[in-house]
Amino acid sequence: MSLIKLENLCVDYGPISAVKTLNAEIMNGSITCILGANGAGKSSTLGCLAGLVPVSSGRIIYDGQDVTSHQAHQMVSAGVTLAPEGRRLFPGLTVYENLRLGAYTGHAREGFQEQLEAVFGYFPRLRERRDQLAGSLSGGEQQMCAIGRALMSRPRVLLLDEPSLGLAPKIIVEVAKIIRSINKTGITVLIVEQNAKLALQLSSYGYVLETGSLALEGPCKDLLHDDHIRQAYLGGTAA
């Protein structure tokens, strides 16, 4: 069953169009990935889903409802949360305060303590760093905090934008493991990555964007063996 459906989605920034008539479906409970080079329109697509980037034309259907014109806070309330590219933590706030802000919306506030324990369960390091300023964390810890913060809103759909960016290989493995276990609790995950190998190994279904248009889609097993993908995205880079 599809949880999110993108119908002819277009995003324009002034004269430049970032996403051109994209059609995609995200299955409930799946991990889905969007691949593509820099500027292919991946982040814009996630931005639309999170309600941060205005849609120029087309529709977004979430859980059977048209959410095309929803704003960020409405999407969060509806259960779609984005952990943005570059973490975007609040550097001047403590880890605890960052997590508390993750649970800002109504339904998330009720189960705050419970959810906090769950996040500390995934990321024990955050418990240790609880009262430290987020800006003083290491890159890996910041990524954990960003994912943790997104989880605090008790999402149905978790949108991850470049979770592996700038992390050491050892940490990447750790983060990937946690993403998988988050998915196991029933949370649908949509992941945008330049690290195609990681994304394809993690996900069940993938979309490949090139300069704003859909170039290829399919189950990740197939994509992993696709010649074009191997050359363009897996070729030289062994992640």
């Binding site: 941060l52 706030l93 508390r100 809103s153």
Partner: protein, 286 residues
């Protein structure tokens, strides 16, 4: 000499607390909305006029009048933000001029309604506390205590309250804040409301201590400006440090050299800070 030193310190502290009240609202509004609120002094004035009306003319209880006047100023702030400034978020220049236009209008309106002359209200608290040769007027003690209490409450609000946290988040990264489900528009209104409320409180507190006139906001506005630049635009701790610093500098230099020199020193500090550490004493580099 010791006595004089203590007197200067006490004077500096009492000015400093009011400067902090003014500067906090100013810096909060800038930090969250990037609006240089040139109308901040007018909110101070409206707070004082509120006291003139409620306490002076209608004869309500002073403390009740403060609460009511201050809430009205906060409401006025929310209306100004909603109706006039909302469209200009991110356009610093236009929002600055809009704030100036609001300042001109409010000042003119007050002059028409209440006359251009200086007016006074009776002092709710009189007398002087004399400790070891140092004179502290009792009304200033009341002002100081209320200001301090509000500052602590404001600190606790920012530190622990949900909306306080949301304000700090929006100030640091509006887009990331929106991703947490925070509605920036609501926070803008709240910040502007709270900011003008603090200015209104400063005005309401100083109304019986000083005189009341439509133009009384100009100097506190200037002081808030200086404090905020010293401490760092948008920095809450900066407003506290800057306020105390300016209070003591003013007290010291105007005692020994006169108020014109004190003003020049304050402007000189502003120029130096902006040239060598534009982010202010407590601000982060941007």
């Amino acid at each position: 000499m010791l006595q004089l030193t203590i007197q200067i310190a006490v004077n500096g502290l009492t000015f400093g607390l009011i400067y902090i009240l003014m500067a906090l609202g100013f810096t909060l509004i800038f930090g969250i909305m990037r609006v240089v609120n040139f109308a901040h002094g007018e909110f101070y004035m409206v707070g004082a006029i509120g006291i003139l009306l409620l306490f002076g003319t209608l004869g309500f209880n002073y403390y009740l009048s403060i609460v009511f006047a201050v809430l009205c100023v906060g409401l006025l702030g929310v209306i100004v933000e909603r109706v006039l400034l909302r469209g200009f978020v991110g356009r610093e220049l236009n929002s600055m001029i809009m704030a100036l236009a609001v300042a001109i209008t409010l000042q003119a309106l007050a002059a028409i309604l209440f006359g251009p002359q200086e007016q006074s209200v009776a002092r709710p608290v009189t007398g002087v506390l004399q400790v070891a040769g140092v004179f502290i007027p009792r009304d200033r003690i009341v002002v100081g205590v209320i200001a301090l209490a509000v500052l602590i409450a404001f600190y606790l609000f920012l530190r622990y309250a949900r909306y306080g946290l949301a304000m700090r988040a929006v100030a640091q990264d509006p887009a990331a804040a929106a991703l947490q489900g925070i509605r920036p528009g609501f926070i803008y209104s709240l910040a502007f409301g709270v900011g003008s409320l603090l200015a209104g409180l400063a005005g309401a507190l100083m109304a019986p201590v000083y005189t009341i006139s439509p133009f009384m906001g100009d100097v506190p506005m200037m002081m808030a400006f200086i404090v905020v630049i010293l401490g760092g635009l948008g920095s809450i701790p900066g407003a506290v440090v800057g306020g105390l610093l300016l209070g003591f500098v003013e007290s010291l230099f105007s005692t020994f050299f006169g108020s014109t020199i004190a003003t020049m020193i304050a402007f000189g500090m502003v120029v130096l800070i902006l040239l060598f550490k534009p982010s202010g004493l407590m601000g982060r580099a941007q």
